[in-house]
Amino acid sequence: MKARSFRYLTGEGIKSAWANRLMSLASVGVLVACMVIIGLFILLYQNASRALGAVEKQNVVLAYMKDYTWALYGGEVEKAAEGGDENGILPDSYVIHNEDEALEYCKEIEKLDNVESVEYISPQDALERETQNMKDRGMYVDSILGEEYGNPYSGAAKVTMKGMDDFADTVEAIKKMDATDSVEAQSDLADSLFFIKRGLTTGAIWIFVILLIISFVVVSNTIRITMYSRKLEISIMKAVGATDAFVRIPFVIEGIFIGLLSAVISEGLLYFCYRVATETLLKKWPKVSIVSYADMALILFGIFVAIGLFAGVICSFFMIRKYLRREGSEFSAI
């Protein structure tokens, strides 16, 4: 069978990778660097997602108050015919009349069993934060928050709970309080999570593309040098009637060899780096929840092998195309 020739040419490929070991090593080095950076980014992303996910689910809620703004915009308050202010609102129809009462309300919530802490967010705070959020998202803020409408935000209590178990009960308890309008998950946090995730994703894609290009350039160059150093062999192979596929084998094997070796080294190196990094981190913050390498090992290795094989095979294929067009006698002139 042709297996014998295949073995022979595979051996030739590995020999030529070894003969060009300095170049092979250089391209393995660059490939490893690219793979490790890509791997670190994936791990960072996974950890960020997990951390953010944990925060998202975290027991923080905003309890909006029945204050003047609520009375004005909430639509649940009957406009009094007389005795009200210029908007027809009676002082009895809303609960929180001033900052003292707001702080008092916060203290009331803090007394609940499952509540860890409460922070008062004034209407002014809320307005500033929402304005900033909208600006971040590229919205045209002035048209929404025009002067004439005043501040549309009610004051709120930002409630952090002790645990998730009694979360629903605690929310119920807060809702039952007289001064509570509604209870919502905290939105500014969700917003910043959205931005962090989007930033990470965009960054990851760019880094991936750039590193992939670098890998291709470096591996192509190595294969080109190998091809140059094997031009004598190629010319003989062509003269005796070796098919293009056979002429290719040593180079494709060399490409695969470089790609696979890089993948294995990257996996090991990344494991080591990640372990050192997470151990240091855990020493400082023992409570931090970290993605375990074991969970990611297979996926990462798959990605590395894919990058390595892709770079190796594609590069060797394209680099040798040019040479395959050349004929034996021309080789001495290359």
Partner: protein, 237 residues
């Protein structure tokens, strides 16, 4: 080996072949020639006459612009690139610059030509064929030598063994003695003559008049891309 109807046909046939390089050089013009199976032909002519172009057309390293070329039953003018290896397997090429792989010993250099073809030969058959080929060129005892340990004449004999190892019908040699000193040249042409006597067609370009004179073979003379002399049929037909 080939059917008898095949062996009557010329192994090489050029009909109205012209070759113009993209640079505009007319390397060959209206070449018509037939070389029979089992012939030995020298191709002579001054530098730039078109001798190498003639050989390259036979190996299908270059394509003719006009005319028809038939080699070993293959119509080269209609041949697809993918089929070229099959044509080359029927011929053995000897290079002027030997083209031995320096890091391989003599045996491995010859075996290389078998290994890279993906044939069915097993290790034992390869050893047998390589040993035979080396014996034919008188280098049976140099199998383990490295190319740089050999003289130019010996290196070219390794090249010849490599050309023979796949049992070709045709040997193509463009100035095989160009880098070999004169008495070694005689030895090489003697070997080629031996090989020719056992049935292999030999086509050899040379500048060396004494070789042409002393070995009484067919002589095809080119000048400015045209065949100006050919003593075909002098000793045959």
């Amino acid at each position: 080996m080939s059917p008898s109807s095949e062996s009557d046909k010329p192994i090489i046939e050029f009909k109205g072949v012209s070759k113009t390089y993209p640079s505009g050089t007319h390397a060959l013009e209206d070449v018509n020639i037939r070389i029979k199976r089992g012939e030995f032909a020298f191709v002579v002519g001054s530098s730039g006459a078109g001798k190498s172009t003639f050989m390259k057309l036979i190996m299908r390293e270059e394509k003719a612009n006009t005319g028809t070329i038939i080699v070993n039953g293959f119509d080269l003018t209609k041949m697809r690139r993918r089929k070229v290896p099959m044509l080359r397997r029927t011929m053995g090429v000897v290079f002027q610059d030997f083209r031995l792989i320096p890091k391989m010993n003599v045996f491995d250099n010859v075996a290389f030509a078998m290994h890279v073809l993906g044939t069915n030969a097993n290790g034992r058959q390869i050893r047998k064929e390589v040993s035979n080929a080396l014996a034919k060129v008188g280098l049976g005892d140099k199998a383990r030598s490295m190319p740089n340990e050999l003289s130019g004449g010996e290196q070219q004999r390794v090249g010849l063994a490599r050309a023979l190892v796949n049992s070709p019908d045709l040997i193509i040699a463009d100035e095989p003695t160009g880098n070999v000193d004169p008495n070694m040249s005689y030895e090489i042409v003697s070997l080629l003559t031996e090989i020719n006597k056992r049935g292999t067609t030999v086509l050899m370009v040379t500048h060396d008049h004494s070789l042409v004179r002393d070995f009484k073979h067919r002589v095809i003379m080119l000048d400015s891309g045209r065949i100006v002399a050919d003593n075909a049929g002098g000793d045959e037909e």
